[in-house]
Every structure is written in structure tokens, then in C-alpha cells.
Amino acid sequence: MTEKTTPLWEVFIRSRTGMAHRHCGSVHAADAEMALQAARDVYTRRGEGLSIWVVPSSEIIASDPAQKDELFEPTASKIYRHPTFYEIPEEVGNM
């Protein structure tokens, strides 16, 4: 007997610390409400969260690892975006 597959959902939790929702795992559920309940029951048992997002895993669009270089390499040379690139005399103080 091959069983029908129950959809997979990705779970994102916003913790108490005021951080953005963060991916923490996945659950199986037939629909969105069940996914939300499952996410609450599975991933917030230790007071981890104040808000939950669930997203159908099939709806996630991922970048292609093969394109890693063209996507992410070009930024490596743009060191002028980083504050340490600029020299400010110490007497000026924190900036």
C-alpha cells in the first residue's frame, strides 16, 4: 500500500528577542491551520516563540548552488562597503 503524501511545510519562528522570523524546521500537515498547530506543538515547547509562519515547502524558490559564483562572488571585491575600509583618526572619536 502506498500512502498519499501529506504536504511538507517550512516553519519560521520569531523569538522573544525581537529578531526576525527564523527558519527552524519543518512539519507535515494536510492544510495550513494544521501546519500552524503542528509547528506550535513541535517547535515552541520550550517557550521559543512569539509568532509562527508556515510556508508550503513546495512554494520556496531557491537559488541554484551552481550559480553560487555569479551570484555571490562579485560582492567579495567591494570592500569599500565595509566601515573598516575608511580610516578616521582616533581623535575624532567613535564613528
Binding site: E3, K4, T5, L8, G25, V27, H28, A30, R45
Partner: protein
């Protein structure tokens, strides 16, 4: 964690892989980069991971049964809550791990099918019965203790989803071991009769716990490849020794005797030396002939079969609701 049966050799190695890609992959692993599901990986790496992660997941799920056996009989409400929360956690661990395996392209349904058909293995330890309340303490202390030994290095596993799942699991495990040890401590302090129960539990769980680390390195062909892939960080024997060194003093603190007359402390090495593990028993239990193998599988099969109509109903409802929404949209157009 429960990696003991991993050491079967991959015979179906399949097509020859591009040597450059393999080398580039190995270089990434050597540089401690994490491998993610969509990255290219050697087929052997993928297969090894699917097998190890799913086996680990099955162990968590089957592992709910021996301890679950005592939830209804826990002696106090505090212990009942702790045990239920602990067994529930194990279910969570199974869930995290199934999810990690699913990133490699096998579905939960397929994985469940592999367990129920007897095709997939799970840790031999869960085929032993829990006979008294002291067994609950012994499992927390020894079985979760051994699991932690195994799992901590897995937090650094080269495969991202497995490593992240293990980090989550490890955070939850330490309460498991502590509640077990505390429970035993309370028992040995309370009365002589309870102390005897605890000793009896140790006698029965000690050797099976040592077996949890899997065959000795000399008999374990798969170890080297897993080490190179950084799926494994320590050998079976190294982890087992670590476990013995940590556990023997804890047993003594409880006033217990380890059931091993060869046990002795080697001043020179700083390690506890222990007797020979009964590998025949280990192989027998792995092969399906332990005290509870049949019951464990039967219980999982029953839960799965009894729940089939519930899972179908939830799917049917979601289809119906989607259809209704669709119909409503058409009507509105």
C-alpha cells in the same frame, strides 16, 4: 546518534563519478564547509546520510515505546510530567531527523514504510524491555547518556540539515539524562529495596548501552569513509571509551556496581578498561531476535494502520476545501 548498524557496506556504488567533482567536494568537506541538500554530492555520501539519518530517526520513534510503557504508571505527578515530556521530545527528535532525511529526496511516507517493512534498522537498545520504574532512570542516564556522546560530534557533521537537527536535539537531550540520573539518586537514597531495583536495572541496561556505539573499530569497515566525509568524527570504540569513563564514576556515586568483573582503572592511560561485549547478542538483536523486536514493530504498525483513516480524512478535507474555493471563484467570475 544510533549509528551502530551503519557499517554495512554500500555494494550498489553505481556509476563512476567525475573525479574532479569528487575532489572538489572532498575539498569543501575538508575545509569544514557545510554541504547543503541542493549541492552536488557523491552518491555514496547521499546514501550513507539517508541511511544514517533515517536509522537515527527510526530509533527515536521506536525509542518512545519502552519508556512510553511507564507513562501511565509513573509514581508521582512530577515524574509523570517529566517522563511524558521526555518521550514527547524523542518524537520531536524523530521528526527533526525525518525532515533532515527528506531534504535528500526521500519522503516521510517512504521512510515510515522502510521501518514498518523491517527493511530499515533502528538501535538495538530499544528491543529490551522496561521491567521496573528504575529502568526509566537507567534509560535516561545510560541510553540518553550514550546518545549524547554520539550526538555531540554529529552537531559538526558536514551535512547542514543533519548538523542543524542535531544541534536542536542536543539542546533537548541534557534534560533527559539529568531527569534519569536524578530519579535514580532519589531511589538509592530512599530505601534499600529501591536501591536493589536500581542495581537490577543497571545490570540489565549496562551491556546493551555499550552496544549502542556499534561494532568495534576493527570490524567496522564503513568508519573510514564516514570519517573522511565528516559524517563521523570519532570511531565507535573512542566514543564507547568516553562513555565508560564518564559513567563508571557516576555509577559509583550512586553506590552501584557495574556488572563487569573485568572493569578496572588503568592509572597509566587514565581510562577504565572493561570486559568483552557479547557481540553475538548484539548481532542477534540487530537481526530481529531481541526480547522485544516483534512487539516494537507491531506497535508501530498498529499505530500507523489505526491512524490511516485520520490522515486520509485530513487530506480529503483539504482537497474538498480547495475545490470549494475554486468553485466559489468560478461562480464569482
Amino acid at each position: 546518534m544510533y549509528t551502530q548498524a551503519l557499517n554495512a557496506r554500500d555494494t550498489e556504488a553505481g556509476a563512476v563519478e567525475d573525479a574532479d567533482r569528487v575532489a572538489a567536494f572532498q575539498a569543501r568537506v575538508d575545509a569544514e564547509e557545510k554541504i547543503e541538500p541542493n549541492d552536488w554530492m557523491p552518491e555514496g555520501y547521499r546514501k550513507t546520510l539517508v541511511r544514517q539519518i533515517s536509522q537515527h530517526a527510526h530509533s527515536e520513534i521506536v525509542g518512545m515505546l519502552p519508556e512510553g510503557n511507564w507513562i501511565s504508571r509513573a509514581p508521582t505527578l512530577k515524574r509523570k510530567a517529566a517522563l511524558l515530556a521526555k518521550v514527547q521530545d524523542e518524537g520531536g527528535h524523530g521528526l527533526y531527523l525525518y525532515s533532515a532525511a527528506e531534504t535528500l529526496g526521500v519522503s516521510r511516507e517512504e521512510l515510515t514504510e522502510q521501518l514498518l517493512s523491517g527493511k530499515a534498522k533502528y538501535s538495538s537498545i530499544f528491543n529490551y524491555p522496561t521491567l521496573t520504574w528504575a529502568d526509566i532512570g537507567a534509560i535516561g542516564w545510560l541510553v540518553d547518556g550514550a546518545a549524547i556522546m554520539n550526538q555531540i560530534p554529529l552537531c559538526r557533521c558536514s551535512f547542514g540539515p543533519y548538523s542543524r537537527a542535531m544541534i536542536r536535539v542536543c539542546k533537548e537531550e541534557s534534560f533527559h539524562q539529568r531527569q534519569g540520573y536524578e530519579l535514580l539518586l532519589e531511589m538509592v537514597r530512599s530505601s534499600e529495596e529501591q536501591k536493589e531495583m536500581v542495581q537490577d536495572a543497571l545490570n540489565r541496561w549496562w551491556w546493551p548501552s555499550l552496544m549502542m556505539f556499534g561494532p568495534s573499530d576493527t570490524d567496522s569497515q564503513h568508519s573510514a569513509q564516514s570519517m573522511a566525509w565528516k559524517i563521523k568524527r570519532f570511531t565507535n570504540d573512542e566514543l564507547r571509551q568516553k562513555f565508560v569513563d564518564a559513567t563508571v564514576p557516576q555509577a559509583h556515586y550512586l553506590g552501584l556496581t557495574i556488572p563487569d568483573d573485568k572493569l578496572s582503572f588503568n592509572e597509566a592511560t587514565g581510562h577504565w578498561e572493561f570486559g568483552e561485549i557479547d557481540w553475538d547478542e548484539f548481532m542477534r538483536v540487530i537481526a530481529g531476535n531481541g526480547p522485544c523486536n516483534r512487539e516494537r514493530l507491531a506497535a508501530r504498525k498498529k499505530a500507523h494502520a489505526d491512524g490511516a483513516w485520520v490522515r486520509e480524512a485530513a487530506l480529503a478535507y483539504s482537497r474538498k476545501r480547495a475545490d470549494r474555493r475554486e468553485a466559489a471563484r468560478h461562480a464569482a467570475e
